[in-house]
Symmetry: C2
Subunit: 443 residues, 2 copies
């Protein structure tokens, strides 16, 4: 992408009401623009990151065997009357009356609708054993939206729902999602620790929040330090194999948010291994048994008679993850994008647009990298060098190549690696191969 053809409106000053770094950086670097409290437009730079996060979430859902569909944002209130949640949900539900005075709502979540959909399509026990998911915008009318995309009102969520014949199969579905979640965060460079969450009247041990450690996190968390060093499940994990060992490894040590904190159990950990920090919730998985299938009569014929279907739900806040990523990866200069979710992989700065040699070198480098599938933002504008550097620093791509007439005389360009801050003088005929290698090895 040539910068002259892109739309990248940077802010010189940080809006005063942006309290946390991810919100500030997303506004300043032209990724986000507020349209109303907690409602944002994703500008082209931010949109690219959002789509990459979404693509990783999707790939890992598919790999775990979940099947994608798409439910609408607007739901009829009747579904929620059926489950009994319409009155219980409170003012966070955005209630709408259509032109025919029918009660509708903007879906804050989809347990009811997916139950209705599945109920309409299955009859026999042979039809269950599926996990369906969608990635769709949700709305929760938060009383005080804040922290940018971390607690917005309109937000993008991946929510999956499993349907199984019995609790044992449901546990297997739960473990698949548990495993997929570990891989999903890992691919974005995030270490998310699963922490036991409240199961309410359902009971059991099958409810976990996935928490990313970050100083700006909204909740206090407590964990055994070893959990920060566990290896994630490998890319070739067989989701039909026994996943209990993975589950046990990740849940065998103490880990809890303040809501579920057991001070005594935590104190029992050797002091050097106690980790007390702040965290951001980036996912929540929950086995709720027959709660909705009973309320909404989702039953199948089984050899031993009719059975209510066992269900679980599995959410990832896709737009929220973008905030969490920045909270976890930034320094005083700005974002430090992992390569897998960076808006572009590499920037090219033409220090002297209009100079035949820098123009030609930049153009060749741009084409060579793009032909290799490397995503490049080429600053081909006529702006001053200082402005170009400031801009490239603010958007913080993993790599940036600077092409200037002085360096070119010696056949060299400068390669800056964002993660380390290193700047190297590189022969101009080698730089494409080096950038390409580094990006591939980071992906």
């Amino acid at each position: 992408m040539r910068l002259s053809a892109f739309y990248l409106p940077l802010l010189k000053e940080t809006p005063g009401d942006a309290q946390i770094v991810s919100h500030r950086l997303m506004l300043r670097a032209g990724m986000l623009r507020q349209q109303a409290a907690g409602i944002y437009a994703w500008l082209p730079l931010g949109h690219r990151v959002l789509r990459k996060i979404e693509a990783i979430v999707r790939e890992e859902q598919n790999r775990a065997g979940a099947v994608e569909l798409l439910m609408p944002t607007i739901q009829p209130a009747s579904l929620w009357h059926e489950s009994g949640r319409y009155d219980a949900y409170g003012p966070e539900m955005l209630r709408i009356t259509d032109r025919h005075d029918r009660e509708m709502l903007y879906g804050p979540t989809n347990e009811e609708m997916i139950t209705e959909i599945f109920r309409g399509g299955v009859r026999s026990y042979k039809d269950v054993g599926k996990t369906l998911y969608h990635i769709q915008w949700k709305f929760r009318d938060e009383v005080r939206p804040r922290f940018g995309v971390m607690r917005g009102r309109e937000f993008l969520m991946k929510d999956a729902y499993s349907f199984d014949l019995d609790a044992a199969s449901s546990r297997k579905s739960y473990l698949k999602m548990f495993t997929a979640y570990l891989r999903t965060y890992h691919r974005m460079g995030l270490r998310a620790i699963p922490m036991k969450a409240d199961t309410g009247p359902i009971g059991g041990d099958l409810s976990h929040e996935f928490i990313v450690l970050a100083d700006t996190g909204e909740s206090e968390v407590f964990a055994h330090r070893s959990l920060t060093e566990l290896a994630p499940p490998p890319a070739d994990i067989d989701f039909d194999s026994d996943l209990e060992p993975i589950f046990n490894a990740w849940t065998g040590q103490y880990a809890a948010t303040d809501e579920m904190h057991d001070a005594a159990a935590f104190e029992a950990i050797p002091e050097a291994d106690r980790l007390s920090a702040r965290g951001i919730e980036v996912g929540h998985i929950f086995y709720f048994g027959t709660k909705y299938s009973k309320a909404m009569n989702l039953a199948v014929d089984a050899p031993d008679g009719q059975r209510f279907v066992e269900m679980g739900s599995y959410g990832i806040g896709v737009s929220r993850l973008m905030g969490a990523l920045i909270e976890a990866y930034h320094d005083e200069y700005g974002c430090k994008w992992p390569v897998s979710v960076a808006p572009f992989h590499c920037g090219i700065i033409n220090l002297k647009a209009g100079d035949a040699s820098t123009d030609e070198t930049c153009k060749t480098l741009y084409r060579t990298l793009e032909d290799q599938g490397i995503e490049v933002l080429y600053d081909d504008t006529g702006d001053r060098a200082g402005e170009k550097f400031a801009r490239m620093d603010l958007i913080c791509l993993p790599f940036a190549v600077t092409v200037g007439p002085r360096g070119l005389k010696e056949g060299k360009v400068e390669l800056k690696t964002r993660a380390t801050g290193e700047k190297d003088e590189i022969p101009v005929d080698k730089v494409a191969a080096i950038v390409s290698d580094r990006i591939r090895s980071a992906l």
Copy 2:
């Protein structure tokens, strides 16, 4: 995808209120499920087609130089008060009051919001000359939603907006979109004819609807027959070149919907060349000059003083296109998907699941095709052969391979080509190469 792991709820009977074939087929073949009047869930099979249509739209937008962003579905009413359209829009606008009693709405279109966004990011005439687009769900509270996704209330739309310094540049932006639209429909196997549309008080010739001919179309259209034979712009078209010849070729002959019909001009065409038919609108592009930039004060500093930005808007109904595709491509058996948007490229029917030879052959074929990037739906269920055939016929994939024990004894499988209805006996070791070739040549 193995069918046993997919979610494909077929209907035995067609719901009575589905009046047109696309609606009927989408419901019957497990692509769509109604949640409320004009509001649908896209089941996995339908969702796959929707995403393919969306991907083609996106690719051609990007190729034409448009830049993608994403605006939220919910908008503050204040934006529409600014443009003066809030009161004018009528009951099709879904109006919402949030918990703090603020007036909001579910966006039916985005002229106001994109103008606000662009206003916030540009100052100089050097910043204009861009086209921004998004692909997002919209809501129009139709008084009588009908015809399935053809006239739904919640629908997916690609809307692009161009920003230029003067009318001449705006015309160039318009021609880029005009050209991109021709290519977009062509890639889905659709021939859409641009027809002059009403420009209202703006005047000029820059408003076109793109119409696909189909017997079930909602409007009557009149055109010179030669327009059905024009070659679409090639894949390597240079969008920065002079596009006037393309525009002239496609607009040089008579073509109009009934609203704009000029009977005398039509009668002047030799009778054999007069085409009178029904059509479905699948896109609308519109140059509206400074209508919104003046109302909302989007001006830039230009060498000759401040100038209001010239704008145009360019819409494609992405979800509607799926209905139009089925209306244009079906026969008495069901859909006839062009390969580029088919939910899967090829089906495999195992006539005797559990038989070692058919199981092994199917599995090998499935893997071989998937490894080549061919999307396969493998019916690995234990259902009766008749049920499998009926199902595969209903979902109508471009190719279907049937593997049975009798054929295998002679080393053969059956390949059915949906477009022609041909059934060929093919040596089992050749079928993957043949299917793969045919799909590649069709893409």
